[in-house]
C-alpha cells in the first residue's frame, strides 16, 4: 500500500455531478443547432414499398428529411462489425451491412427508415409522424435456435439458415468419449435470456460540420471515442480521420452498450455535412430499448460428466447465440472468445468441447453487456455444478472445492493452461470460496435452513464461483482470433514546468472513477500531491489515441500504459537530477518526490527537475528539453479475476416470491488501487446480475414486437429489492502487468446471477425442480412448485 495506492480516496469527479454541473452529450447546445428525429419501423420484418416524405418536408420548421435512398445514393453501405469469426469449414462469416437508414426492408422493430431534421425537437417529432411508409409485413423470427432451422424466415435474403457462423473449440472426440464413460452426467437445457442494458443516460449524438475548415466534431455518449472515430471515418463515411474530432464528455453509464459504433453517430455527422448545421439526436427511452445493443440471449444445452467420486471428467456445450438483425461492433466475439474460452471455469475439467451457432433474427442487435460472454459461461458451469451436487447427493461447496484448479501464482510456477485456449495468470480459487463460506457461516446456515424447513419456510443457499478474462487484450492474440483492431492502450504523461501533472488516457470513464484511481497511481509513483494530477480522457483532440473502456480493461491496460510513461518521466528526471546534483544516476534514489544522492543529504525536488527540463540552462549535454512522454501498452496476456458469491433467499411458499436475504461476494481482482471504488463496482455488478436472475428480460412476441420496451414494463432492480451487500477480497496479484491489477468492473454481474438461481433451486429442493427460466418471477417459481413432484 502506498500513500495513495490502496487507499479509499474520495472521488475528485464527484463535485461536478453533485452540483448539477456534469456535462453529458444532451446538455450540449451548439449555435444554430438542429434536432433529428428518426422514423423507425413498427414492424419486425417488412418490405418497404415506398416512403413519402412530402408532408413532413412541408411542415413549418423542418429543415430536411432524408431516407434510406439518400444514404444509399451517397454510397454508404453501413456500420461494420469489428471481429470476424469464420465458419468451422473456413467459410467467411456472414456480415450483412447495417445501413444508417434502410431502403429495402426493415429487419427489426426500431430499424431506421428516415430522419427528420428540424429547428426544435418538438417540430422534428411532429413531422416524423407525417412520414408515410408503405410496409409489406413479412413473417418474423426471434429465437436464436429457431432461426437456424430450414424454412425459418430469412432476415437477410443472402444468409442461408440465418447463420452468421458456426464455431467450435476444444477436443470434441475426447469430450464425447469422456461423457460416454462418465459415471454421472448432469444435463441442463436453458435460456440465458436477453437483457436490455439500460444505462440511465439515453444515448445521444451531435454532429457538427464546419464547412470552412472542412472538419467535423462528433459529441457522443460513448465508452470508446477513438475507435468510433476510426470506424466511422475509415469504414462508414470515408472521411479523413484527421479532420474529425470525437468527444465523449460525461457519459451516464455504459455497461457495454456504449462501446459500439452506432448508426446514429454516422448519421448526424453525415446529415450535418448535408445541411451545414449541427444536428443533435437524443434517444427517448423507448428508442433506447429497441436500438441500444442488448445482451446475452443464448439457447444452450450443456452436459457435464463426473466419475463416481464426483471428479469432473468432461463438459460438452451447444449454444445458439442470437446476433439480432445486424452485427454490432463486438457481437461476434461474445459467444465465442468471451464465452467458449471461459468454459474451463475454475475447474480441472480434462475434456471440453463447445459448439456455437450464431444466428440473425428480427430483433435488436445483441452485443457485449456487463460481463459479455463470461456471465453466460459462469451461469452454465455453476448451474451444472449445483445440479450435479443435488443429483449426486453431495454438498455443492464440497463438490467445487474438490474440483478446483490448485493455487498458482504465475511467477514461481507457470500459469494454468486450459483446455479452451487460455492460460490463466494466477489464482487461488479455494481461497475465495472458503472466505465466502466463512463470512456466511455456511455450516450454521445449513442447520438454520433445515430447522426453517420443518416450519414450512423455504430458505435457499446458492453458491457461484467464477473466473473471467479481463484486461483485453494482447493485440497479436486477438488479431489471430479475428479481431479487426489492436487492443492495447495509450497514455501520455505531461509534466508541466511547475511540476504539475497532466495525464491523457485512452481509457474512458463513465462512472468508474478513473479521474481518481489513475491520479492515485500517478501521485504515488511520482511522489506528488493528488491535487497536482489531472486526468484527461474522452476527447480525440487532446488524447492521442485510445481503445476505450470495456472488458474491465482500464486499469490493467490503460493504467499500465500510464505507468510506462511515468517510468520514462522518472528515467529522464534522474538524468537531469544527476546533472544538477553532480552525481551518477546509479547513485540516486527517488522517494517522496525527491532525488537524493544515496547516503547524503544532497537532493533535488521533482518540481525543480521539471522546471529545469523546460528552462534548460544548466542541463545535461545532449538531453532534449521538456518532460512529456507518450506510451502504448500492449498486454502480455489477459488478466483473470475470480471470486465466490453466495446468495441466501427465502421463497414464499404461497406466492413464489423470492426475497434476497443476504448476498456475500468475495472477489479477487488482484491488487486494489482504491477499495472504495472497487466495492462500488462490485455492488453495482451484483445488483445487475441479480436483476437478470429475478427481474429482467426482454420479451419478444411471435411478431417480433418487444412487448416490455419501457421502464413501465421492463422490471429494473430497485433499492428495496436488496439487502446490504457483504463484500470482501483476497488479493492474488496479476503477474504480468506493472500494477498487479486484474479488473473489477464486471465481476459482480458475472458471479451473482447463478448464485441467486442456485439459491432458489436449493430452497425448492423438496419440490424436485431442477430449472426455472430466468427471470425467476413469482409466477414462474410458483408454477414450478406446482409442477414439481412435491
Amino acid at each position: 500500500m502506498g500513500k495513495f495506492i490502496g487507499q479509499a480516496v474520495k472521488r475528485v469527479e464527484d463535485k461536478r455531478f453533485l452540483t448539477g454541473k456534469g456535462r453529458y452529450t444532451d446538455d450540449i447546445v451548439l449555435p444554430n443547432m438542429t434536432y433529428a428525429k428518426i422514423v423507425r419501423s413498427p414492424y419486425a420484418h417488412a418490405k418497404i414499398n415506398s416512403v413519402d416524405i412530402s408532408a413532413a418536408k412541408m411542415y413549418p420548421g423542418v429543415v430536411e428529411v432524408f431516407t434510406g435512398k439518400d444514404i444509399a445514393d451517397s454510397g454508404i453501405a453501413g456500420v461494420p462489425c469489428g471481429w470476424q469469426v469464420d465458419f468451422k469449414n473456413g467459410d467467411t462469416m456472414k456480415e450483412p451491412p447495417h445501413p444508417l437508414l434502410v431502403a429495402d426492408k426493415v429487419r427489426h422493430v426500431g430499424d431506421a427508415v428516415a430522419v427528420v431534421i428540424a429547428e426544435t425537437k418538438e417540430i422534428a417529432r411532429d413531422a416524423a409522424d407525417m412520414v408515410e411508409v408503405d410496409y409489406e409485413e413479412l413473417p418474423a423470427v426471434t429465437d436464436a435456435a429457431e432461426a437456424a432451422k430450414t424454412g425459418a424466415p430469412l432476415v437477410h435474403d443472402d444468409v442461408p439458415n440465418n447463420t452468421c457462423y458456426d464455431w467450435g473449440l476444444g477436443d470434441e472426440a475426447a469430450t464425447n468419449a469422456a461423457i460416454d464413460k462418465a459415471d454421472h452426467v448432469t444435463t441442463l437445457e436453458f435460456v440465458n435470456q436477453r437483457l436490455v442494458p439500460n444505462a440511465i443516460e439515453p444515448r445521444a449524438a451531435i454532429g457538427d460540420y464546419d464547412p470552412i475548415r472542412e472538419n467535423y466534431t462528433l459529441y457522443t455518449s460513448s465508452q470508446n471515442p477513438h475507435l468510433i472515430r476510426l470506424l466511422m471515418c475509415a469504414f462508414v463515411l470515408g472521411i479523413p480521420e484527421h479532420k474529425v474530432r470525437v468527444v465523449s464528455p460525461d457519459v451516464g453509464g455504459g455497461f457495454g452498450s456504449k462501446i459500439f459504433h452506432y448508426t446514429e453517430e454516422a448519421l448526424v455527422i453525415w446529415a450535418s455535412n448535408k445541411i451545414g448545421r449541427p444536428v443533435k439526436w437524443t434517444a427517448e427511452r423507448s428508442e433506447s430499448f429497441i436500438t441500444d445493443a442488448h445482451g446475452r440471449d443464448h439457447v444452450t444445452k450443456a452436459e457435464m460428466g463426473f466419475d463416481k467420486d464426483g471428479n469432473v471428467m468432461a463438459l460438452r456445450v451447444k449454444t445458439f447465440a442470437n446476433m439480432g438483425a445486424y452485427l454490432s461492433t463486438f457481437s461476434t466475439c461474445v459467444p465465442t472468445y468471451l464465452h467458449g474460452t471461459l468454459l474451463q471455469g475454475l475447474y480441472t475439467t480434462p475434456a471440453i468441447y463447445v459448439d456455437v451457432t450464431a444466428t440473425f433474427t428480427n430483433t435488436t442487435a445483441v452485443d457485449a453487456y456487463r460481463g459479455a460472454g463470461r456471465p453466460e459461461a459462469t451461469y452454465l458451469l455453476e448451474r451444472l455444478f449445483d445440479n450435479a451436487a443435488r443429483e449426486m447427493n453431495m454438498d455443492p461447496a464440497e463438490l467445487r472445492l474438490k474440483n478446483f484448479i490448485p493455487p498458482f501464482d504465475g511467477v514461481s510456477e507457470p500459469g494454468y493452461q486450459t483446455q479452451v485456449a487460455l492460460q490463466y495468470d494466477s489464482g487461488n480459487y479455494q481461497g475465495v470460496l472458503k472466505r465466502a463460506l466463512e463470512m456466511l457461516d455456511y455450516d450454521g446456515l445449513r442447520k438454520e435452513q433445515a430447522e426453517a424447513r420443518k416450519n414450512g419456510r423455504l430458505i435457499g443457499i446458492g453458491i457461484s464461483t467464477y473466473i473471467e478474462a479481463c484486461g483485453i487484450a494482447p493485440s497479436a492474440v486477438v488479431g489471430s482470433l479475428g479481431a479487426r483492431a489492436g487492443l492495447y492502450e495509450s497514455a501520455q504523461v505531461r509534466i508541466q514546468p511547475t511540476g504539475k501533472v497532466s495525464v491523457y488516457t485512452g481509457s474512458h470513464s463513465h462512472g468508474q472513477g478513473h479521474e481518481t484511481t489513475f491520479a492515485q497511481v500517478v501521485a504515488d509513483r511520482l511522489g506528488v500531491a493528488l491535487e497536482d494530477v489531472e486526468v484527461i480522457h474522452g476527447d480525440s483532440e487532446s488524447v492521442a489515441f485510445g481503445m476505450g473502456t470495456y472488458g474491465s480493461r482500464s486499469l490493467a491496460v490503460g493504467g499500465s500504459a500510464i505507468v510506462k510513461s511515468i517510468d520514462k518521466v522518472l528515467e529522464k528526471g534522474a538524468r537531469i537530477a544527476a546533472h544538477k546534483l553532480e552525481a551518477s544516476v546509479d547513485d540516486l534514489e527517488y522517494e517522496g518526490g525527491h532525488w537524493t544522492v544515496k547516503g547524503t543529504d544532497k537532493s533535488i525536488a521533482f518540481g525543480d527537475v521539471a522546471l529545469t527540463a523546460y528552462v534548460p540552462h544548466d542541463y545535461p549535454e545532449g538531453e532534449e528539453p521538456g518532460m512529456d512522454f507518450a506510451s502504448f501498452y500492449d498486454p502480455a496476456n489477459f488478466t483473470y479475476p475470480f471470486g465466490a458469491h453466495i446468495a441466501v433467499v427465502e421463497v414464499d411458499p404461497e406466492t413464489g416470491k423470492v426475497d434476497l436475504k443476504r448476498f456475500v461476494a468475495v472477489d479477487d481482482v488482484g491488487n486494489v488501487i482504491n477499495p472504495m471504488i472497487v466495492d462500488g463496482q462490485i455492488h453495482g455488478g451484483v445488483v445487475q446480475g441479480v436483476g437478470q436472475a429475478l427481474f429482467e428480460g426482454a420479451i419478444y412476441d411471435d411478431n417480433g414486437q418487444l412487448v416490455n420496451g419501457s421502464y413501465m414494463d421492463y422490471c429494473m432492480p430497485r433499492a428495496d429489492d436488496f439487502p446490504m451487500i457483504e463484500t470482501d477480497r483476497t488479493v492474488t496479484p496479476c503477474p504480468h502487468n506493472p500494477l498487479g491489477v486484474k479488473g473489477a468492473g464486471e465481476a459482480g454481474a458475472i458471479g451473482s446471477t447463478p448464485a441467486v438461481v442456485n439459491a432458489v433451486l436449493d430452497a425448492l429442493s423438496d419440490y424436485n425442480v431442477n430449472d426455472i427460466r430466468m427471470p425467476l418471477t413469482p409466477e414462474r417459481v410458483w408454477a414450478a412448485m406446482q409442477n414439481g413432484n412435491h
Binding site: L18, G511, M716, I725
Partner: protein
C-alpha cells in the same frame, strides 16, 4: 400559442412564454439552462428528472411547465449554498453514492424530501423512498449509506 409562466427556481424569479405542451424538465433545461436535471425515461419511472416543487419531490418529465406557474422550484443546482455542499450531497461524496452521476441529481432531490418528512429513516424506509429512482451503477448500497450519513449530519 405561448402561455405565460412565473416561477421561482433556486430563489430566482423567472417569467417566460412557454409552449403549452412543454414539460417542466425541458423548461428547466432549455429555457433556464439548468442541465443538472436529467431525462432518463419520459415515463415517470426512472426519477432522474426529480426536482422539488413547493417542497415536494416531483418527476419533472411528466409535469407541464404551465402547471408549475406560481411555484417555488428547487433543482440540484440550488442545493449547495455559498460553495458548501448540502449534507445530502456531502453524504453522496463521502459514501461513494454516485458513479456515472446521471441519476444522482434525482436521488439527491428525492432524499431531500425523504429527510424533510422523516429525519431519521430506517434502512428499509430509505430503500422504500428510493423505489421510484433507478440507479444502474451503484446497486443502491452506497446511496442508502449516503442518505444515512446525511440524516445523521442533519439531526
Amino acid at each position: 400559442m405561448g402561455v405565460s409562466v412565473k416561477v421561482t427556481v433556486n430563489g430566482e424569479r423567472h417569467e417566460h412564454e412557454v409552449d403549452a405542451r412543454q414539460m417542466l424538465v425541458d423548461y428547466l433545461r432549455e429555457s433556464l439552462h439548468l442541465t443538472g436535471t436529467h431525462v432518463g425515461c419520459d415515463t415517470t419511472a426512472c426519477g432522474a428528472c426529480t426536482v422539488l416543487v413547493d417542497g415536494r419531490a416531483v418527476k419533472s418529465c411528466t409535469m407541464l411547465a404551465v402547471q408549475a406557474d406560481g411555484a417555488e422550484i428547487k433543482t440540484i443546482e440550488g442545493m449547495a449554498s455559498n460553495g458548501d455542499l448540502h449534507p445530502i450531497q456531502e453524504g453522496f461524496h463521502e459514501e461513494h453514492g454516485l458513479q456515472c452521476g446521471f441519476c444522482t441529481p434525482g436521488m439527491v432531490m428525492t432524499a431531500a424530501q425523504l429527510l424533510a418528512d422523516n429525519p431519521n429513516p430506517s434502512e428499509q424506509e430509505i430503500r422504500h423512498a428510493l423505489e421510484g429512482n433507478f440507479c444502474r451503477c451503484t446497486g443502491y448500497h452506497n446511496i442508502v449509506k449516503a442518505i444515512q450519513y446525511a440524516a445523521k449530519k442533519l439531526s
